[in-house]
């Protein structure tokens, strides 16, 4: 569509203005501000697409028309803005276009007002708005990169790698696994540093420990010194006492007279001797009186002789009295034992049952051998019974299993109609072989039929090859004919003219004929040979097929098989399987029968063994005297009772024998004692108890013995007293001699002198002992202190009280030192505990382990990141290449326009894969987003893009005039000139361009390009010069 005339009636701006517009090329409209350029642009858009419902913002649009040229001819479009007071002829006041709607729609081709404003009619503001190109209708021309399978895969791969990389670390580096791990690593490192700072505390504690150990050593040293001091004072205190005693003793000893010798215990001995003299005299007198009294007693004896003559026999019986008492007691016990054993035996006989007497029990064999025999027989009997029961159970089980198997086999064999299983199996196998053979023959039949068909097809394919075209036969015929003619001619020429010429003609003829024959053989010979082979193979196949069909008929007989061959083979196979299984069952049944027979044989043997064992058992218990019907357990229990009875019987007999022997002894003694009793004076009569008689005899014997001993003793005493009296007399004399000798030894003439000398000697001895003790104490006090020396001056100047105070002071100091030492040890223990706690603290180990784990994970994630990054960068490269080679045509053209507008500063323009944004590349290959461009360059870019889209639409058949309203005012002079040249060039290529400007230099710039601007009048202040120019209207 071309715009050829604008007619506008706009109150206040244009009044019935008519602007003729060239249908091709560039039209420049120059006018100052408020000249109505924007109104004109809005008017054109309004007429084409309708005015806004509320009228123009400025309120200038009224009504008007546009004259357009389309393919169908020239039309005029009328339109009146709603509410406009102006009325155009032919226009409706309700914003209706009175032009043919079909012509307008045909021209616009779906372009709406919005798209028209974005692309075709734009002002300076539209040039600065990037989002004016982001609409779908525009974007489909700019960003419509055809992805295709490769682009899609690249996009998907890029998306996946980006997702994976974002999981590791996001572009802001604030989230992701790597970030978490890095942060955790930092935390753990900080924690580790914190823990490892414990080493410093350890050093401090160690220093404190060393200091304490030094303090302890010092305290110990001081403690030792004080202890030594205390020991010295205590030594003096302990030594001074004995030393002082020694000094006193020696002083007193010096004052006593020297008594070199004095009888030991002289005074005591004197006292003793004098008392002995008195005692000896008294004893001597008493003994003499006793001698006289005893002599009187011995002279009066009174005894009876009768008792003395039988005293020996009586003493013999009396001495056996205890034994006889024991014998009497034993006799009673044995009688009681006989009674008890008899009762027990009777009771055991009662338990054995009636008919058991002592003689029968005694005759029974209850020995250990008999017991073993009985137990062995019982065990054999029971085991035989048990074995028989087990075999019986087994026989029963096998018989039941065999019966079940036989019944199931009988049902299966019922279908064989009385035939044997082997015959049926052979029949089934033969049937299977036959069916297999038939199936193989049928398969071979099918193969042969197919082979015949294949051979026929081959023959059909070869036959056309065999037949050469007719013109070939014609040519070959000519060749053959000419060969014959030339050969004949050569023969004639050879004969008639020349042999050589004839030979040549003959050779030519032979050559032509041979050539024709050779060509025919060449083209047809091979095919005929293959055809012959096919024919031979077909005949052989047909013959074999015939033979095969005969065989099939023989196998099938007259009736063809019912059903498919494979189904029949499967059925035969199944039948064979069933029969084989039945055969196995039959074999198993036979085996079970044999097994059952063997079991039954074993059962018979077991029965015989059980019978033999029973017979042996019965014989044995009969021999023992038990009834045969007795069960094994009962028989064993009866045998036990019999053994008990036999044992009691033997015990009874033993008791009876013992009782009889004791009674015999007792009776013999009783008779002898009674005889002696009769011979004694005052002998007792019959009926007196034996033991009572012995008691009386014992008393009598004691009395006799006592009288004899009394007399003997009196005589001995008399002799003794006389001897004692003589001895005391001698002793008295000896003692007196000793007293006199004692006086001589003591140096005293009498008792008084002796006593004085004794006192002096005792004092001296006492003092010497004291001295000795004090010296011993002194030695003992010095013994533990070998390192200390006794200094006489110190002892003489020793003050006990002062020394005690000193000791007290030192002890207090020692206690203080020990307390300090204990406190120091306590502190040392605490420090060592602290040190040990630090040394054994495992927190560092745990943190270090976790840090190690985090670092391991970091290595893994870093590797993943490197993998993702490498893949992403490589994919990006591929993607960029893809983008460069798959950009839409509009963008490629826009890039050319931009390069021209920017004087080759920006050479490339492209859009990333799958995105709606533009990237510009400069002459050094650097890429920039649109937002980073300067305003002028951005406007140049958007103008280039618009012009490229216009060209793209034009190629799609949408041709509308381009209206540019001062869009290059921000261009520098050079780029403005380049842009103007580009616009002029585009206009020259057929694009109608209406350029409005208020800048004179731009109008002049167009003028230099040969475009004469249309000067719009200035409504506010008309100038005289304007009339000289080309004025609108």
């Amino acid at each position: 569509m071309k715009l050829t005339e604008i007619q506008i009636d706009c109150p206040g701006v244009w009044r019935n203005l008519t602007l003729p517009v060239p249908p091709t090329g560039l039209s420049v409209f120059y006018g100052p501000n408020e000249a109505g350029k924007t109104t004109l642009r809005q008017f054109i858009a309004g007429v084409l697409f309708g005015f806004p419902p509320t009228g123009d913002q400025s309120g200038h649009i009224g009504a008007g028309s546009l004259q357009i040229e389309v393919a169908m001819g020239t039309h005029r479009l009328y339109r009146t803005a709603p509410g406009s007071p102006a009325q155009m002829p032919g226009s409706n006041a309700d914003d209706a276009v009175s032009a043919p709607a079909a012509a307008l729609d045909e021209s616009l081709k779906g372009i709406d007002r919005q798209l028209f404003d974005r692309i075709f009619a734009t002002g300076l503001r539209g040039m600065t708005e990037l989002d004016s190109l982001s609409g779908d209708d525009v974007a489909k021309h700019l960003f419509a990169i055809s992805l295709g399978p490769t682009g899609t895969r690249l996009m998907e791969a890029s998306r996946r790698v980006e997702e994976r990389r974002a999981l590791l670390i996001d572009p802001l580096q604030k989230e992701g696994e790597l970030v978490s791990l890095f942060e955790r690593q930092d935390q753990l490192t900080a924690r580790l540093n914190e823990i490892e700072s414990a080493q410093r505390r350890h050093g401090e504690w160690s220093q404190r420990r060393d200091q304490l150990e030094r303090e302890i050593a010092d305290l110990r040293k001081r403690l030792a010194g004080t202890g030594e001091q205390l020991r010295g004072h205590e030594f003096l205190q302990s030594v001074w006492g004995p030393w002082d005693r020694i000094r006193d003793c020696r002083h007193e000893l010096d004052g006593l007279p020297e008594i070199a010798e004095f009888p030991e215990r002289g005074l005591e001995r004197l006292e003793k001797l004098e008392s002995e003299i008195a005692a000896a005299a008294e004893c001597r007198d008493r003994l003499l009186a006793e001698v006289r009294h005893i002599h009187d007693e011995v002279m009066n004896p009174a005894e009876t002789a009768a008792w003395r003559s039988h005293a020996a026999a009586m003493r013999g019986f009396v001495e056996q009295r205890d034994w006889l008492e024991g014998l009497a007691q034993r006799r009673q016990e044995l009688q009681q034992n006989v009674f008890d054993r008899e009762n027990e035996f009777v009771l055991a006989c009662d338990q054995l049952g009636a008919g058991w007497t002592a003689s029968r029990v005694e005759s029974a064999d209850v020995s250990a051998a008999a017991q073993r025999r009985l137990w062995g027989t019982a065990e054999s009997f029971l085991s035989a019974l048990s074995r028989r029961r087990a075999i019986k159970r087994k026989c029963r089980r096998i018989a039941e299993a065999r019966r079940d198997l036989k019944e199931s086999l009988a049902e299966s064999l019922h279908d064989l109609d009385g035939g044997s299983l082997d015959a049926a199996l052979n029949l089934a196998r033969a049937r299977f072989v036959e069916l297999n053979r038939t199936a193989a023959l049928r398969l071979r039949e099918v193969e042969l039929v197919e082979r015949l068909e294949t051979l026929g097809q081959h023959r059909d394919r070869i036959v056309p090859q065999l037949t050469l075209p007719k013109w070939v036969y014609f040519v070959l015929g000519i060749f053959a004919f000419m060969g014959v003619i030339l050969a004949g001619w050569g023969l004639v020429a050879g004969i008639a003219v020349s042999g050589i010429a004839g030979a040549i003609y003959a050779m030519l003829g032979i050559t032509c004929g041979g050539l024709a024959w050779g060509l025919k053989i060449q083209y047809e010979g091979d095919a005929e040979m293959r055809l012959g082979e096919i024919e031979t193979a077909s005949i052989a196949a047909a013959r074999e097929l015939q033979t095969l069909r005969d065989s099939i008929r023989r196998v099938d007989g007259n009736e063809p098989p019912a059903g498919d061959a494979s189904t029949l083979v499967c059925q035969a196979q199944d039948r064979i399987g069933e029969l084989v299984e039945l055969s196995a069952h039959q074999r198993k049944l036979r085996g079970m029968r044999q097994h059952l027979a063997a079991c039954r044989k074993k059962l018979a043997t077991a029965e015989r063994e059980a019978g033999t064992a029973r017979q042996n058992w019965n014989e044995l218990i009969a021999k023992l005297g038990f009834p045969e019907a007795l069960a094994v357990d009962e028989a064993l229990a009866a045998w036990q009772r019999l053994a008990v009875a036999a044992e009691r019987l033997s015990a009874l007999k033993l008791a009876q024998r013992e009782a009889h022997a004791v009674n015999s002894i007792w009776e013999s003694y009783r008779q002898r004692i009674a005889e002696l009793e009769r011979r004694l004076p005052q002998g007792g009569g019959e009926g007196v108890e034996l033991l009572d008689v012995l008691s009386a005899w014992d008393d009598q014997l004691i009395a006799l013995e006592r009288g004899r001993e009394d007399r003997h003793e009196l005589r001995s005493r008399l002799r003794l007293k006389r001897r004692e009296a003589r001895e005391h007399e001698k002793r008295l004399e000896n003692i007196k001699v000793q007293r006199n000798a004692l006086f001589v030894q003591g140096g005293g003439a009498n008792r008084d002198e002796f006593e004085e000398r004794s006192r002096l000697f005792a004092r001296r001895t006492f003092l010497e002992d004291q001295l000795h003790d004090a010296e011993r104490d002194l030695d003992a006090a010095c013994a533990g202190h070998g390192d200390l020396a006794l200094v006489e001056e110190d002892l003489e100047s020793f003050e006990p009280r002062q020394n005690s105070e000193c000791i007290e002071m030192l002890r207090l100091e020692l206690a203080d030192l020990e307390s300090d030492l204990a406190r120091a040890f306590e502190q040392l223990g605490g420090i060592q505990r602290e040190i040990e706690a630090i040394e054994t603290d495992s927190q560092g180990t745990k943190v270090r382990f976790e840090l190690q784990q985090v670092e391991d994970q970091l290595r893994t994630r870093a590797r993943d990141w490197a993998v993702c990054e490498s893949a992403a960068r490589t994919i990006d490269e591929l993607r960029r290449d893809f983008e460069r080679t798959h950009q839409p045509q509009a963008l490629a053209e826009a890039a050319k326009f931009l390069a021209r507008m920017t004087c080759q500063k920006y050479k490339n323009l492209w859009t990333p894969l799958g995105e709606r944004r533009l990237i510009v590349e400069d002459d050094r290959g650097r890429s920039f987003p649109v937002q980073s461009l300067s305003r002028g360059t951005r406007e140049q870019l958007l103008l280039a893009v618009r012009m490229a889209v216009v060209r793209e639409m034009a190629r799609q058949g949408i041709s509308l005039p381009v209206i540019l309203d001062d869009v290059i005012v921000n261009f520098d002079e050079e780029r403005a000139a380049a842009t103007v040249a580009l616009l002029v060039e585009l206009a020259a290529q057929g694009q109608q361009v209406l350029f409005f400007t208020c800048h004179k230099h731009l109008a002049q710039l167009f003028a230099t390009q040969g475009i004469e601007p249309v000067w719009l009048p200035n409504h506010s202040e008309p100038t005289p010069e304007r009339d000289e120019k080309r004025l609108a209207g």
């Binding site: 899609t152 890095f182 350890h202 603290d841 490498s870 893949a871 960068r873 490589t874």
Partner: protein, 389 residues
């Protein structure tokens, strides 16, 4: 262990010592993965437990001295627990009057020794500024003189050798150089597989020196190769892994096994092993089988290996994948700088984590990164129908 002199010794007193190296007390094990609480306790204290076992071995075998080579404590570890444990162990031997000879190789390492910790009198440190040789005597009779030897080429850089001089009856001495490294007392990372501990050296009067390895490490690293066939199911793999563990001999001191599996093969099971969750569940099921009674088995890694680790080994499907592989190879043509460039051109540059990331990337194998990147991209490029949907 074979470099000891094998000549017979004519007459001399018997001499026994235990040789251990690189105790690294309180040094934590690398690459264990996440552990259960009871296992973690053992792993945390593994170096301590191992050292205690070495001391026990000294007391049980009534050795004449203990030789400790290499770093007994981690110099980077500022904690006190390691040095204190070392002192406690030496103190235990001091009660039996057993000397402990420490040769850290570099005597500067003792400069970091905590000043508050005092070595017992039976501890002898060799090196510059310390003792040059230690004489071991029993009942007033000289048994041996031990000195540090020159480090032989090929030995561990922290381990110096020993020279043991044993006096003979006729006044001469025999010298036994001891250059063998018994290995760390406790394996620290996954490369230190097998049992670890110390070596008992016995020098008898009439025979050559005898060496007995005494396992003391409570944590054992192991690595097993396992092949996955196409027909193998998950349970088959589980049983195979358990039987491999059961076949491997164990030591009484071992409480935890940290096992790494290198799985080779193709097929669905091998593909499933690329999923971390699948591997975790497999490892948990393996631990529940209790293949080693009394030992906790923990799987720290389960790697699926292809026949080659190069990028070229991955089959490419189409032009885009081929182009990707080519670009990736071009990027990693200089492996030393590829990862640094990766960081330099990333969003992390000049960010708060750049330094840490740079340190981590420096430890990575660029070839493995390239291989993984290729495999990841192939996984995406390999399913165009999925992507297009």
């Amino acid at each position: 262990m074979s470099s000891l002199t094998q000549e017979p010794i004519p007459t001399m007193d018997s001499f026994r010592c235990i040789h251990a190296s690189r105790l690294l007390l309180d040094h934590q094990l690398h690459g264990t993965g996440t552990l259960a609480a009871d296992v973690r306790n053992v792993v945390e204290d593994a170096t301590f437990i191992g050292f205690e076992k070495i001391i026990d071995a000294c007391l049980v075998h009534e050795v004449d001295c203990l030789l400790l080579a290499g770093e007994s404590i981690d110099p980077a570890n500022k904690g006190l627990r390691g040095p204190a444990a070392l002192v406690r162990g030496i103190q235990r031997l001091a009660e039996r009057d057993i000397p402990v000879i420490l040769d850290a190789g570099d005597s500067n390492r003792w400069s970091n020794w905590p000043p508050g910790l005092r070595f017992p009198p039976n501890a002898h440190r060799l090196g510059t500024g310390f003792e040059s040789s230690v004489s071991i005597a029993r009942s007033g009779r000289l048994l041996a003189t031990i000195t540090a030897a020159e480090t032989p080429s090929g030995a561990h850089r922290d381990i110096t050798g020993w020279q043991i001089q044993l006096p003979e009856a006729h006044g001469t001495t025999r010298t036994f150089p001891l250059h063998d490294d018994p290995g760390p007392a406790q394996g620290i990372d996954r490369n230190a597989t097998g049992s670890h501990g110390c070596v008992l050296l016995e020098f008898d009067g009439d025979s050559a020196p005898r060496q007995t390895v005494i396992a003391t490490a409570p944590v054992r690293w192991e690595s097993f190769e396992i092949s996955v066939a196409d027909t193998m199911s998950r349970d088959d793999l589980l049983q195979e892994m358990a039987s491999i563990l059961e076949r491997t001999s164990r030591k009484p001191c071992e409480k935890v096994w940290l096992v790494g599996w290198n799985v080779s093969g193709d097929g669905e099971l091998a593909k499933a092993l690329l999923e971390a969750r699948f591997c975790d569940e497999l490892a948990a099921d393996l631990a529940e089988l209790v293949p080693l009674p009394g030992i906790s088995v923990h799987t720290h890694s389960l790697r699926v290996q292809t026949s080659s680790q190069s990028v070229r080994s991955i089959k490419v499907h189409d032009e885009l994948a081929t182009e990707f592989v080519a670009r990736l190879e071009e990027r990693f043509a200089r492996p030393t700088t590829a990862l640094q460039e990766c960081l330099m051109h990333s969003a992390l540059r000049a960010g708060p984590w750049e330094m840490k990331m740079e340190t981590l990337l420096a430890e990575l194998d660029a070839g493995e990164v390239a291989h993984d990147a290729c495999r990841m991209a192939m996984h995406w490029f390999g399913a165009p129908e999925e992507l297009s949907s």
